[in-house]
Symmetry: C2
Subunit: 789 residues, 2 copies
């Protein structure tokens, strides 16, 4: 708590492009950020959850009476009681398949069976043991491909209702199957494409389930106001989406549901769309008291995961390296409930052909229900899985054709004006530049260092593209206060990405005021205008543009007001330096606060909405998938221990197109964070199940990267539009997808082994080396040549 504000007007104006610290830097380093996790409401109860021990079972009977009687227990919510509450019972952002608590059956180990609200956490936990549940076990299925086979156990006997929330998602399902969605992309004629090919490469790649592991777990507080309004404080990336879903579920007008979101302690996709808010609100309704629900770290593993995937990828190529056709069949395990899978498997599907000019493409991307924890958004949103397959295979194609892997890519990469797999025309595309730069940064084309004994050194590259959600809507309001200070009202969620600072910077520039004269209000659906989501690396671009529009609107209002005072036409008034002044006569002007006071307005509120349009044909996947594309190249140099299979990344460089960097420091931090996350996915992270039971659901057995796991050298660079006025691209995920493939390719370069299943554990590398007979030898077939190519 510090009074460290400067006097009005004394701080230096801020401009876009400055490397400013986070707007909340002091709070961050002093541990003073007010996370939802730390919020307490007077009289609130604590909620704990009873979870299913079975992967698939019918609930025969549930008896909470012993728990009800426990002193300190206020309310126990069970399936039968849920049916009595008089509210909707099932929710889901795309498909309403998830019951607030299990009603007839459970669908995964960890499925929520009952919730206890008690005066403290210990009492609530104890009460869980007093709930008697009788199950009838059912056969279960854990593999997406197997779950699509006829006769597989069915998670849903009838199709749960589908919502029309998102115009960009068309769901293809089939009664009597576990299909959650099927995305189809049809471009050209793959049969013709393969016929024209000189060589055809066919491979299968897999990735496992993984955990987001935000430091702050899922947390939600719910309170019913006396007037029937519902107020929810949720650590969510999507407050407006949560509000809409709660209003539906509880049959309230949206104006009577309020969702407030503080800064998140990390999210990475885990907190997108509705999660535990309905449960908290239902328990609060039943208990007639406010409640707080926080997941334990173990429960985090059961709430939402990265999609396990399996890619069948087939590529036709001419001898000169020209790609003629790519056909992909991929299976995504959606787990027990759809969550956002119907869209993610679409995005992963159309990303999977990669950023290449390929005349004939066919993609079938299947999202499939399985008896595992639900899978949802995960930083990269399908692109990491897709590019792991595509970019590893590109390297193998290059090697098989005797073409340098960088060169093969350069021959096929998309350029401005080329059609993408969706047939949309690409614009503002910089792959060639990114790839060349990235490769150069790890010494591509120069001799590799001499490996130490028992080690092999290799280099690899990968490129990736990722859409930003399209169509998309962001609105913002910018208020100029009576003293000329600025309030930005935005529903973008600050979750460590630094969005508050970015938006403050954009607003500050418009008015020419200092950073400390701008405040960015946390999302609160009662206050801050509509935003679609803080996902898809969209905020700097979408919300940044909305804030710019809103600030312009406010400036226009100020111009109108100042015109009378300064005796000039509104068009001749400039806003800058916290003042309104006559163009060309900076002395003839007034501070903004004075403009407001003298015109008795006291305040102006500017408003801006930014909408992008797009969409794909549901049968062919042709259309506009993204208003612009995030794109990146990664390059790695690794040292493989041929005795142990241990891989050390000696250098990693990421090269990203950013259009225009609003805050170069933030941009660098985003890139480095992406690489570190990608390294975890590459080397360690894998949720392991035994008959549907997660065996490593804790941070002792589930490894995430520590500082010791970082490469000896990590570097990143972003490319801006040469005009200096590029469209700012998001960076939240862009550098993630190339990491695994660049490293996989570097291992291949070092040792000759091609591993097609993530993560690249020492055991897996060692087993592959043994299979190749390369253990203890100097490594790969042609790595020296390629590394220098």
């Amino acid at each position: 708590m510090v009074l460290r504000e400067q006097e009005p007007g004394t701080s230096a104006p801020v401009v876009v492009g400055q490397a400013l610290p986070y707007l909340d830097a002091v709070e961050r380093v002093t541990g003073a950020v007010p996370y939802t996790l730390n919020l307490e409401l007077p009289g609130m109860l604590h909620v704990k959850l009873l979870r299913s021990p079975h992967a698939h079972a019918r609930i025969r009977r549930i008896d909470p009476s012993a728990a009800d009687r426990l002193p300190g227990v206020a309310y126990v919510l069970t399936g039968p009681r849920l049916l009595e509450l008089g509210i909707g019972t099932h929710y889901g952002v795309v498909v309403q398949d998830k019951p607030i608590v299990a009603i007839d059956k459970v669908r995964y180990v960890g499925d929520i069976v009952a919730a206890v609200a008690a005066v403290d956490e210990d009492t609530a936990l104890e009460a869980l043991d007093h709930i008697a549940v009788e199950y009838e076990e059912l056969p279960a299925v854990f593999d997406a491909e197997a779950a699509l086979q006829p006769g597989a156990p069915l998670l849903f006997e009838t199709l749960p209702p589908q919502r029309q929330t998102f115009a960009d998602i068309i769901v293809h399902r089939a009664e009597g199957t576990n299909l959650c969605n099927h995305f189809k992309l049809r471009k050209g004629d793959v049969a013709q494409g393969f016929a024209e090919a000189d060589e055809i490469f066919e491979d299968v790649y897999t990735t496992p389930a993984a955990q987001h592991c935000p430091l702050e777990p899922h947390v939600v507080l719910a309170q019913w106001e006396h007037d029937g309004r519902l107020v929810v404080w949720s650590a969510t990336q999507t407050p407006y989406s949560v509000r809409a879903d709660l209003a539906d579920l509880f049959r309230l007008p949206q104006a009577k549901v309020r969702v407030l979101t503080a800064t998140l302690g990390g999210a990475y996709g885990a907190k997108s769309y509705i999660h535990l808010e309905p449960l908290a609100a239902a328990v609060a309704l039943g208990a007639r008291r406010p409640v707080k629900l926080v997941l334990s770290r173990q429960e985090e593993f059961l709430e939402v995961t990265k999609h396990p995937s399996k890619f069948y990828i087939r590529t036709g190529v001419k001898r000169d390296g020209t790609l003629t056709a790519r056909e992909i069949r991929c299976y995504w395990s959606a787990g027990a409930y759809a969550d956002i899978s119907p869209r993610l498997i679409k995005n992963g599907g159309y990303a999977s052909p990669g950023p290449y000019r390929i005349p004939h493409i066919k993609v079938d991307s299947y999202g499939v229900y399985t008896n595992l924890p639900p899978a949802g958004a995960f930083r990269g949103y399908g692109a990491p899985q897709a590019h792991w397959a595509g970019e590893c295979q590109m390297d193998d194609i290059a090697r098989a054709l005797g073409i340098d892997p960088v060169e093969l890519r350069l021959r096929n990469l998309l350029r401005d004006g080329d059609p993408f797999a969706t047939s949309e025309q690409m614009h503002d595309v910089h792959f060639h530049e990114l790839l060349r730069e990235a490769a150069a940064k790890v010494g591509w084309g120069t001799p590799k260092p001499q490996p130490r004994p028992g080690k092999a050194i290799g280099r690899g590259v990968a490129v990736a593209l990722k859409s930003t959600v399209t169509p998309s809507t962001s609105a913002a309001a910018v208020r100029v206060e009576a003293d000329g200070s600025i309030t930005v009202l935005s529903s973008t969620v600050e979750m460590g990405q630094g969005s508050k600072g970015i938006l403050a910077q954009i607003a500050a520039e418009k008015f020419g005021v200092g950073y400390d004269r701008v405040r960015v209000v946390d999302p609160d659906t009662d206050i801050t205008p509509y935003d679609q989501s803080t996902t898809s690396s969209r905020s700097t671009f979408s919300m940044g543009t909305a804030v710019q529009y809103a600030a312009e609107d406010a400036c226009n209002q100020l111009r109108e007001l100042a015109a009378g005072l300064l005796e000039a036409a509104p068009g001749d008034i400039e806003i800058g330096g916290g003042r309104a002044f006559v163009k060309g006569s900076p002395d003839k002007g007034l501070p903004l606060g004075q403009v407001l006071a003298r015109t008795r307005r006291q305040q102006v509120l500017g408003h801006g909405t930014f909408v992008t349009e797009g969409g794909l044909d549901p049968e062919t996947g042709q259309g506009v998938a993204a208003v612009h594309w995030h794109h990146a190249a990664g390059a790695a140099e690794v040292e493989v221990d041929l005795e142990t299979g241990q891989v050390a990344v000696t250098r990693y460089h990421t090269e990203v197109y950013v259009g225009r960097a609003v805050n170069p420091r933030n941009a660098r931090l985003q890139n480095e964070g992406s690489v570190i996350l990608g390294l975890g996915q590459t080397f360690f992270e894998e949720m392991r199940y035994d008959d549907g039971q997660l065996v490593n659901g804790n941070l002792a057995d589930y490894m995430i990267p520590s500082f010791e796991d970082l490469p000896r050298s990590v570097s990143s660079h972003f490319v801006e539009h040469p005009s200096g006025h590029g469209e700012p691209h998001g960076l939240g995920e862009t550098a993630v997808p190339p990491v695994a493939a660049a490293i996989g390719n570097a291992i291949r370069d070092a040792t000759g082994v091609r591993i097609r299943d993530l993560p690249l554990t020492p055991e897996r590398v060692l087993r592959a080396l043994e299979a190749l007979g390369a253990v203890g030898s100097a490594g790969g077939d042609d790595h020296q040549a390629r590394g220098e190519g």
Copy 2:
């Protein structure tokens, strides 16, 4: 807590003019309104105040060390410690004369000397006894007129700094005097006016200090956020004004101060402008913890009062009743600190000539510092004091001239187009109609009932006018949510007057939706747009207009959006019944939510600002005082007990001009509430001091009206503009000012005694009867004749 919302679209549309229940009626009758008084913050401390036992004294020494050491005490704020906090020390909405806690001296019995923050109220109270204070007593002055005499004890040795907050207030002060403000009105030439008069009447009228007595006392909670922001929950009528003052005092940009206001449990002016917010915020700053400060009922009497007043009123009149001149010299005891006195004594000043055509007017209205609790806004804002003098005198003039009192008024009352005392041209004036109707309702012109033995019956009337604050600014935002429900964002404070319902009704009408589809957000300077104040009966007019503008803005946006979907020009789209449709083809339309979904806007935010202009010349009081005038007539019939002096009101009727009644039920309730408050002021309410020490500062000794004190018959009626499209006038205070004079005149009519000092206690009536020698007799000189006149 009830889920009683209807399904979207099923409720009946609302229109302006419907007699709807309060929007929060259910919460009110179930005791579920979330008053600030009931708010608790986690970890908050409770604050109690040490107050001065002296009316005027220098503080020689203050030692809080024993209090500091008391277990449970977190912080003690004293004058010396205030100086160390590094913030501003003095505040005040017009004059920065009030220290957060006393620094060098105390100026009234009850002045705040120190504040203790402790873990609970008892500990804080106990700690007050452990603060040692050494005073040096100074001579004190309690009467406004006396305080202006040379040699009177001075409250301020040097003039405290004046702020330029309100453009309508020009303060005239003089160093070395206790003058707080002097308002001058000069119209025509009173010397000439008196020369033209056949008779001159000269009287002195007084009114005492009184208490607002809201059920909810002053309460404020303050919390410093980790980022240096200040958040204050205050039961205030003026959240934005409080924000501006706090920002100044704590040297923060306004964007970094947040003021939230829930429904108030009554206010009546007591909660306008800054009160205890600086103290709570300073203690929270010192204690580094959130704090809550609630005044006890006794302390309420010390915080702010109605102004004691003394009116010297001199009126010249021709024999036919034509008024030729009025000269008024009035003194208002502002108490120890200015508060809003500088404006109130201006408004009371220009109201004092009354609603009459008078060619020559001179007013000198003096606000004067005295060693009493500060006086501030009180329902009626100076008009009750002014019209008590003017309207009693009008009756005496009528009787002296042998003209019926109603007739005398009718001959002189303002009509449309007449100039007022300020020379502004009056418009939309309905005094004749109001007075005739009111008089008729108590049987004016018909024989009075035969009095019972020992009783006398009389009738009286009075008229009054009151300005609405001008210039004035209100802004509102209206948001149409994704499901077509409506959120109204307004900083108007709901304090029992029903503003939420009024604003909801205005918004609902625009969109043609049901009452239950509209929510009105409580004031929160982070959310709700600027509003000047919830005072001066301005909200229905000013904020109502702003909401109308904002709703129109939202409708225009919806028209633009719907035009594309409905293939019509925006101008051809109508909004109604919660739908957008093509003019003349109600079937060709879409629900509003559909319009938002199909255009991907999800939400529209309309914004409206309503500004009125005006102002008076500081030397002559000529100009525009009010954008329109609240006006009323009151008529009373009383039965006076000639043995006891007890007065019973047998009938009271109030007649008010309303322009257009948004909600007739609310309008009636406002009128009746005003009359009841007026009755208390007339008969009982008086703060009594003994050497500056309040002797009846509690609700046992200070009487407010109970249901038993109500007249046998109270009725009210409001006149609407004959066009059906009148400008809605506020009604919060309009019926108050005539009450005392109508009753005083009725007593005069019944008994012949003229009492010129409020309240009209039985003792005072009896004493006057005795002086007249009328005790036990049948009463007045000419009351029978006049009552039937």
